[in-house]
Amino acid sequence: MKAIHHIGLIIFLIGLTIFTGSIFAGSFDLQKEELNSFLESKGIANDFIIKELNEDVVSKGPMGIFEFSSSVRGALEKNNVHYDALIAKYDAAKDWDNKGKQYQYRINEKDFRAISFSLAKKSAIGFVVENKGLMWLLTFGLGILGSLMFIAPQLQLLGRKGIKNNGIYHSAATNRGWIAWLVLVYLVTFYIVLYFMADYVVNWTFIVDPISLFLSGNEASQWFVYGFLYCVLMSVMALRMYIKYRHNKYQVLRTTSVLFFQIVLAFLIPEIMTSLQMPAYDFKNAFPLDYDFFFSWNLDSLLDSGAIGLFILVWGIVLTVIIVPVMVYFFGKRWYCSWVCGCGGLAETLGDPYRQNSSKKLISWKLERWLIHSVLVFSLVMTIVTLYAYFTGANSLLGIPADWIKDAYSVLIGAWFAGVIGTGFYPIFGNRVWCRFGCPLAAYLGLVQRFKSRFRITTNGGQCISCGNCSTYCEQGIDVRAYAQKGENIVRASCVGCGICSAVCPRGVLKLENGPETGRINPTEVLLGNDVDLMDLLNKGK
């Protein structure tokens, strides 16, 4: 069993290495016809850019992806320099007509990578493109096989069913050691490349092209790679959860639930919708986590899509305004954050081995409250400005330009916070960095949970021995023990109800439950089990 476990790790690492190394494989040889058809489809028709791309890219012949990318971007840059100069020239000459005409030929810098990606996708040659199936086996195939071989033997290696956190603080992978830092660097790099340099990983998209074509009829984008990888990671790591918590039905059901919502609602249904010419939509992704729901392009697309578009529009609003808070009232925010949400799903599967690394310090809690509520306010301001601009046609509200605030939010929160930091920092700062410090939906749910909900973690009278397992394994960094040892129920806004505190408690002190609001918040001076009169005296007067 140990041997299988170790061989599995080696196979996984080989798969990971091939996956990572495939970025550098093959070459990119853009043909004139390919370029022309692309430019035509984008409606780019100025002679200068055609000439530059032909000179710098087409005529250069096959190149590696990095050279290809920089050549394309260089040509686009030259184009802009050229027209900037013309603009400056006409400006100096006060030739407003001609000056105004030049702007259409400039290409938005934000689109450089996307153009480079599209051209690379058309022009790739070499092993990866020609052996998509084999490459899938060598990357995803080996990765999955290796992981399963690594994980499955734990059924025996971990010992009898029960809480087996043995050695977590002795391992460099889970105790912020060198392995954890290495994983952090890999994840952060992965997200930066995915969000900001997607053309570099165009080869990955070829590997999953057949799957994408099968599902939606389109070739894979970097987002399809991410979505597919996401589902694979969650599925494999769900097996780990099933083994580790096989004695705990709450954990087994919860894991199954997040897996279902990710694979079916977040991944399959949007792909199928695309294949049916509908707007792709993740029906469980609620605003403001789904921050671009009210962006003009999305509203236009929904309004142009007939009945289904209208349904999505209404559903999206009802989800946020009615379903989410009502469900939080009855079940706590856990129904969303640790049973349904995709971010939560990744955190609860891939991220579970890192849950103990969340900081429990009081100062972290303070930081958390400032940050998460700031993001909530930011998302709401951004949305109000966007909607105002959408309905009035104005460019800004109260001096805040709509495009600027949308872009700022997308990059700062959507990409950096949710992705690069939110997931990249798992190995060192715990698996809920985004959910705890950044997610505006979590902030909203948290306010409902704290002030108007039936959910609480009940503390079982006087049974707590202050051992600290609950606090240590709280992914949200709640100092659960601080409440349990006072005999107080836990009603914190940030609690996502993962149930691990209850699972790791050796004395049966904690129970997640939905009950009457009376008695939910119960500050105590003296715990149950002591003198009845003393308890009456000190607790009732509060």
């Binding site: 050695g167 603080y169 049974q463 021995i465 397992n469 004395r507 003393l534």
Partner: protein, 446 residues
């Protein structure tokens, strides 16, 4: 300003300090030689097992003490004079107090076994014991086998600790079944099975004869009294119970029995000197409780009570219904009220149910003549403390407890429920017709 000095920074000492601070402005000093900060002793095992780091066993961040103006003094006490109101430290310094609270806890028992002071022989109580074990048994190549002597809670915890690092363990238990002085036979048998299922070499009714020296002052084996068998080992864990840690008070003016003798106000024989927690011995018995209770909860409760007295609200230590809990390897145990082991009083009858497959069982004790519910033990099922506390106060009949048993379940959501099976077994055994009633929030929060 009155100066309250507390010796011992365990749960008793820290609880009394916290509550004095809540109710007064008195100067508070806590003395400990063991650690700088309060930690949860019961959690030391998890540090060795790698579930936590030592810092995680500390319930309060280090700024807490300054913020609450609780002075911490790191020192070992050599002697105490109640009359002079002063304490002398081993480093020669001294400190004076207006009121002194002794909360010094316990020390592991040693019964004069030959070789009990050899290297590699240790208890598992203090933080220093944890450090010793880390040195003596870092892994199974340094420690090829460990022998544990004494079948109580610390013994089984130590077995679990060593087992977590794949170190083979021989576990010597004096009794004919694990902890059967406390646990009813069926439960004790279940724990035996759990120990064996984990691959631990459990030896019932076997005692330690001697620990054998390897010639360099280190243990190399033990000899069993009954069989004469020699078992080679690198570590011997002495876990045959604990006694009050009061030897430093032997020459003081404070009256000692096995522990520091206290009345119901937790006052010792000397005015302004009090004792709480494991080191205190009650002069008059409280219900069916033993005069010395080395339990986390009683230490905390004494602290809660004494703080009232110190702050001018004279309060007897008057604990409510007995409760406790533990975990035996993977099986959780809870108890509410009194359920007797082998020393069962005449008036007590018991009902026992065990799950056909899982390590789950329940024992309910009731009065033979009156049918009054006396207590419940559960293994593998969590129960709601408040419910049983209330039912015990109300002197409920055992039938009534059975009828509403579902109200008391505290297992996580979606767990299989066993009340129906338990009650049907109860009906069969006692010829009753009890129908279990559905759980009701109204009753739970009544």
């Amino acid at each position: 300003m009155e100066h309250i000095v507390i010796i011992g920074n365990g749960v008793a000492g820290v609880t009394v300090a916290r509550h004095i601070r809540k109710n007064s402005d008195k100067r508070i000093t806590i003395i400990s030689g063991e650690t700088d900060y309060f930690f949860s002793r019961t959690a030391l095992m998890y540090v060795y097992m790698g579930h936590m780091k030592f810092e995680h066993t500390q319930p309060y961040e280090s700024w807490f003490w300054k913020k609450n103006r609780i002075e911490l003094k790191s020192a070992w006490v050599e002697s105490v004079s109640g009359a002079n109101k002063s304490i002398k430290f081993t480093d020669g310094q001294s400190i004076s107090f207006d009121k002194l609270i002794l909360a010094t806890g316990s020390i592991p028992n040693k019964f004069g076994w030959p070789g009990q002071d050899l290297d590699g022989v240790q208890g598992m109580y203090h933080k220093q014991d944890l450090e010793k074990l880390e040195k003596n048994a870092p892994n199974n190549s340094v420690c090829k086998r460990a022998v544990i002597v004494g079948g109580g809670l610390i013994g089984i915890e130590m077995a679990e600790m060593l087992h977590s690092r794949h170190i083979p363990v021989t576990f010597l238990v004096r009794e004919s079944s694990f902890w059967n002085g406390v646990l009813p036979a069926g439960e004790s048998a279940l724990v035996n099975e759990e120990i064996l299922a984990n691959g631990i070499d459990l030896r019932l009714e076997q005692n330690l004869e001697e620990i054998i020296d390897d010639g360099n002052g280190r243990c190399k084996a033990i000899k069993i009294k009954e069989t004469g068998e020699i078992i080679e080992c690198d570590v011997v864990g002495l876990t045959a119970g604990v006694s009050p840690n009061v030897s430093f008070l032997k020459n003081s003016d404070i009256e000692l029995g096995r522990g520091v003798m206290v009345n119901r106000f937790l006052e010792t024989s000397v005015k302004d000197v009090y004792a709480i927690g494991d080191c205190a011995e009650q002069r008059e018995s409280i219900g069916r409780r033993r005069p010395i209770e080395a339990v986390w909860y009683t230490g905390r409760m004494m602290g809660e009570s004494l703080a009232q007295t110190i702050c001018g609200n004279a309060t007897k230590y008057n604990p409510g219904h007995w409760f406790n809990s533990a975990k035996f390897m993977d099986v959780e145990y809870q108890t509410y009220g009194w359920v007797s082991g082998s020393r069962k009083p005449d008036f007590e009858d018991q009902f026992h149910w065990r799950h056909p497959v899982e390590n789950i069982c329940v024992t309910v004790a009731y009065h033979k003549d009156t049918d009054e519910f006396l207590g419940i033990n559960t293994f593998g099922i969590r129960m709601r403390h408040e419910i049983f506390d209330r039912w015990l106060t109300e002197n409920r009949k055992v039938d009534d407890v059975m009828t509403y048993l579902k109200d008391a379940n505290f297992d996580p959501e979606f767990y299989s429920k066993h009340e129906d099976a338990i009650i049907s077994h109860y009906n069969k055994e006692r010829g009753k017709q009890i129908k279990p009633v559905k759980k009701s929030w109204k009753r739970i929060f009544a």
